[in-house]
Amino acid sequence: MTTAPLPHAVIEVADVKISFGAVKALDGVTLRIVPGECVGLVGHNGAGKSTVVNIINGALSPQEGTIACAGERVPRYGIAAARANGVRCVFQELSLCPNLTVIENTRIMHGTLKGWGWRRRAARIIGSKLDEIFPGHGIDPTDTVSDLSIAQRQMVEIATAFSQVAQPVKLVILDEPTSSLDATLATQLLGYVRSFVTAGGSVIFISHILSEILSTSDRIVVMKDGKVVTERPAVEFDEHSLVAAMGSVVKGHDREKRAEGAAGRTPLLSRPSLHGKGLPFEVFPGEIVGLAGLGGHGQTDMLIDLYLGHTSNWLRRREAEVAFVAGDRTLNGVFPLWNILKNLTIADLAGLSRKGIVNETAEADLGHAWKERIDIRTQDLDNPILSLSGGNQQKVLFARALATPAPAVLMDDPMRGVDIGTKQEVYAILRAEADKGRAFVWYSTEMDEVCLCDRVYVFNNGVIVAELKGDAVTEKNVLAASFTGIAA
């Protein structure tokens, strides 16, 4: 795009306030985005980032405050006005229609794509944009979305937002776009964002991965409890000062890695190598085992297989052997009609009940203990689970699994959308639990997290291609192993 820089901000929200019941989600936020800049938006879970996004996107109307586009105040700002002004959005939760093909989803996202031959045009537009952002993506536009992996869906969503049909794309909002992407794809995306910005577009970039924010943004806005607390050029921040601005502290990695030999011990969980290919999998008490490799190469499948294999579909054993932390919240995690408390305790009802009757006092106590321990940001555990921000929902799922007495916990990229402060706390909890003898199997798309593990299995094409132990668990080794083929 070669549009000359506009004299005005692409969009400007001034002193916006919105509250949901007693929760002040936004408490006077002012934000100005000019053409050709990438604004990084950071803050703890529930700080109000997604709410700002929804305001700019037109899905929510602020209770107070104004919104202006290209310097002119728009009194009745809504979804249509936002789109007309070139605002596009990639939401935190996946928002494609899973039953439609990629082409049809493009049609839905672009109302102007009509008339004869729209399928062909849509295929061309989305195909070329995917090629442009994610070379070698392997997505056929005629594929049905439900047949795609989560990462591929995220890629489609990003490409749809950036593709231009009739109206020019001026501002793209990316709400945690890299949470389901592995490092390679994330790098491709960030590269594209820079070129888009250089060409005069604007981007609002939300992420909990501070290195991404620091490397990609021109300006960083830090939010806390519904307010903007700091706003400075990105170059003035480093990781520490950014964390400090958000009100958290980064702790050092203080745990000694376990690298005991397997000899003579019985594994808690194990799986033989698949079809005789690759390495077998096993995990011992007290270990944190990481699953690494490029996204969608069989890590989630193995976790689900392990889980389904160790739980019964017909009877509930009193002592659960394994617990599971879902990464795909809406699909595998949340019970949307329930309040937070019930969502938290569902996996541990065996421990909270006698003769099948749930002890509600014990349940409430357990809930409060975990609310404190993992800092779930809500006034009342009686609130509906969907009133929580994405990251806080994820914390509830975490608490759900950790509250059970299960000796092994399977985690399917569980830190998606969890803010850095909480992550640190969760890491500490994991370590403490592991020291008490619990085992964790942890699939993560975050290299930092993989490097926290005692032992790492690297996946490629559905099989385990490498096992790294102790000090061998480094970013370089994991990356190198990810690209090795199956050892014959």
Binding site: N57, I79, C89, S95, N99, L100, I108, G111, T144
Partner: protein, 315 residues
């Protein structure tokens, strides 16, 4: 790992195969059915069922369910055999009003966030009552043109087969190929993101309901064309039949996953299953039970084919 068949094709292939198997067994039991007249006799009552199934499928596309389909078709049949025959203008106006009512129902369900099952359950009483008012006793007469269309004998292909093919193609184009269909299915798949993309879910729902009413009206009219007259209870079983047809055809209750061609095939399968049974000559005590059994067998077949298909897909 490149897929050979898309999931849509598979969704279609399975019902088509079960229909074929059933058809072969019917031909085996009753070779007389293998003729122009025979095929027409086997399938002509499937035409209204196919239309009702498409109507139900439309409603299911947006994750709703219409429990009033049977009474509505009966109601339309009553209008067709009376007003549409005697005073066509009034008849057409009444049918238009029925379509408008359906659209209003769609709006009501959306705006008040009501469960469609309850609203249509209520409506089933309303349509039933109206039908009884229009035709307190069975009777009426099919309009001449309707009768003429339904008993016409096109060359080579019997009317029943031709009509089903047309229904399948038209609804496929409408729902699977057109932009309108994409929005409809999108609403079923993820209403929230369709809304965030700037579409009006309200309008989409209203349009779906109106279109469903349109197909249901065609169903009622074609039914009267076959039976020559109507009564207030004539099509009550279409409610369950239409749901069963959609499911047999690979449609699902939620998520906007439907297949119009599959639905038509499902309707044909259900009709054929009934004939298959009468050709088997079962003791009267168990004739009803055998209908259940055949439904189970057809569904088991679906499962089996599904399994084979999946096995083929895995490396």
């Amino acid at each position: 790992m490149k897929k050979i068949l898309s999931s849509d094709t598979v969704r279609l292939l399975i019902p088509a195969l079960s229909l074929t198997i059933l058809l072969i067994s019917v031909f085996y039991l009753q070779p007389r059915a293998m003729s122009y007249v025979g095929l027409n006799l086997l399938f002509n009552l499937a035409v209204p069922i196919a239309l009702a199934t498409i109507a139900q499928m439309l409603i299911m596309t947006v994750n709703d369910l219409d429990l009033s389909m049977g009474t509505f078709v009966s109601f339309v049949a009553c209008i067709t055999a009376t007003f549409l025959q005697a005073t066509p203008l009034i008849g057409v106006l009444m049918l238009a009003a029925a379509i408008a009512t359906y659209a209003v129902l769609g709006v009501l369900i959306h705006v008040r966030n009501l469960p469609s099952i309850v609203v249509t359950l209520g409506m089933s009483f309303v349509w039933g009552g109206l039908a009884v008012l229009i035709l307190p006793a069975p009777g009426g007469e099919a309009p001449g043109w309707v009768r003429a269309v339904m008993v016409s004998r096109p060359p080579f292909v019997p009317m029943a087969i031709l009509a089903c093919a047309i229904i399948a193609v038209v609804s496929h184009l409408l729902i699977m190929r057109s932009s309108f269909g994409v929005i409809l299915r999108g609403v079923g798949g993820n209403a929230r993101s369709v809304e965030r993309a700037g579409w009006s879910i309200l309008k989409a729902r209203a349009a779906t309901y109106a279109l469903a009413a349109f197909f249901a009206i065609l169903s009622g009219i074609s039914l009267v064309g076959l039976t020559t007259s109507a009564d207030a209870n004539i099509a009550l079983r279409y409610t369950l039949l239409s749901i069963a047809g959609v499911v047999l055809g690979g449609g699902e209750f939620t998520g906007g996953r439907v297949s119009p061609i599959g639905a038509v095939i499902g309707a044909l399968t259900l009709t054929l299953a009934g004939s298959f049974l009468s050709f088997l000559r079962i003791s009267p005590d168990w004739q009803i039970g055998a209908q259940g059994a055949i439904l189970i067998v057809v569904l088991a077949l679906r499962l089996l084919l599904n399994r084979l298909e999946n096995r083929g897909k895995r490396p």
